[in-house]
């Protein structure tokens, strides 16, 4: 049977859908002012904000939909949404 029996599938396949293409505004992170609290990563509905080796944070633009929650919750105002030119 070629299809997953009973419309079933193993994990991981959603990653094939690069939702970054939906984005109008993109978050720009400023590592200089980041206080490393990690709130942005905790509350991102995509789970696509990751800690860098320096302990600051960056978005995975393959998946970031540009919702702006990270900008709204950042206590240091070190994330700002910019209109993306494509």
């Amino acid at each position: 049977m070629a299809l997953g029996v009973g419309c079933s599938a193993p994990p991981g396949r959603a990653l094939e859908n690069k939702t970054g293409a939906w984005r109008v505004f993109k978050p720009v992170f400023d590592p200089e002012t980041c206080n490393r609290c990690g709130t942005c990563a905790q509350v991102c509905p995509e789970g696509c904000i990751h800690e860098t080796e320096e302990g600051t944070f960056e978005p995975d633009l393959d998946y970031c939909k540009g919702c702006g929650i990270c900008e709204e919750v950042c206590p240091k105002e070190s994330i700002r949404m910019e209109k993306e030119e494509k």
Binding site: L3, G4, C7, A9, P10, P11, G12, R13, A14, L15, E16, N17, K18, T19, W22, R23, Q42, V43, C44, P45, E46, G47, C48, H50, E51, T52, E53, E58, P59, D60, D62, Y63, K65, G66, C67, G68, I69, E71, E72, V73, M81
Partner: protein, 303 residues
Amino acid sequence: MAKVEQEHELFTAGHRACGGCGPALAARLLLKATGKNVIIAASTGCMEVFSTPYPETAWGVPWIHSLFENVAAVASGIEASLKKQGRSEKVVCIAGDGATFDIGVLCISGAFERGHDITYVCYDNEAYMNTGIQRSGATPYGASTTTTPTGACAPGGNPLPKKDMPAILAAHGAPYVATASIAYPNDFVKKVRRAINTPGPCYIQVHTPCCTGWGFESGETLAMAKLAIETGLWVNYEMVNGTVEKAKKVRRKPVEEYLSRQKRFRHLFRPARQDDEIAKIQAIADANAERFGIDIKVKEPAE
């Protein structure tokens, strides 16, 4: 580096939720709380649809969807099956407010009365969002939806109050019932962990604002959830064996601060301000504050 980290997410990116989706965040936090040793049973709804168009599932744990209204019965069967096989996975339902407050009540009542060891999480975005923002039993008084629209004969929107689902489930003898909000992620995670580690049927109702259905900017999802708490229109509390033990205290803001930022309540302010309707909603918040004792008392100045 980012891609490697993505693999540690049990609820992965690539799902098709709207940008700024409250329920998507709830799903992520839910799996952070449960870890891998879990089986998720999902009802039909926004979350099911945006996270599992075949074959692109966002779920990294065992997950099953059957129908809209039967998730609690499906979970009952899973739990019985695991028990018979001597397995250890926790069984967790995830369902929207329509599936929970309305169409699924029969199955939920049966599952809770029978005492299955399951945790039922309702992500409450206060209307049928998947079908296009129709009123559910969880829609708050005064909200405009596509089935409670405002008009010359109905200036106030939804004329009915929100059903008290946590009390209904507490009345079934549920050992642990809690409300939570995605505005307080750690609190939600903590409550899920407590629920899955409490034997018997437990219920968590998590407030998950929907920017599309409520009408606010996608970046404001958490801000809106927080305002619901700060105005007393949503109360975060825990009920243990039917008794409210903890309710989050706040310095309450007027409900208007919450209502005026959402299109679903716009008719209360424009074209003409409806003070009587706003007052009725303020009365709901006041009653919540009284019932749960959430007001932080301001110290009386010393004489």
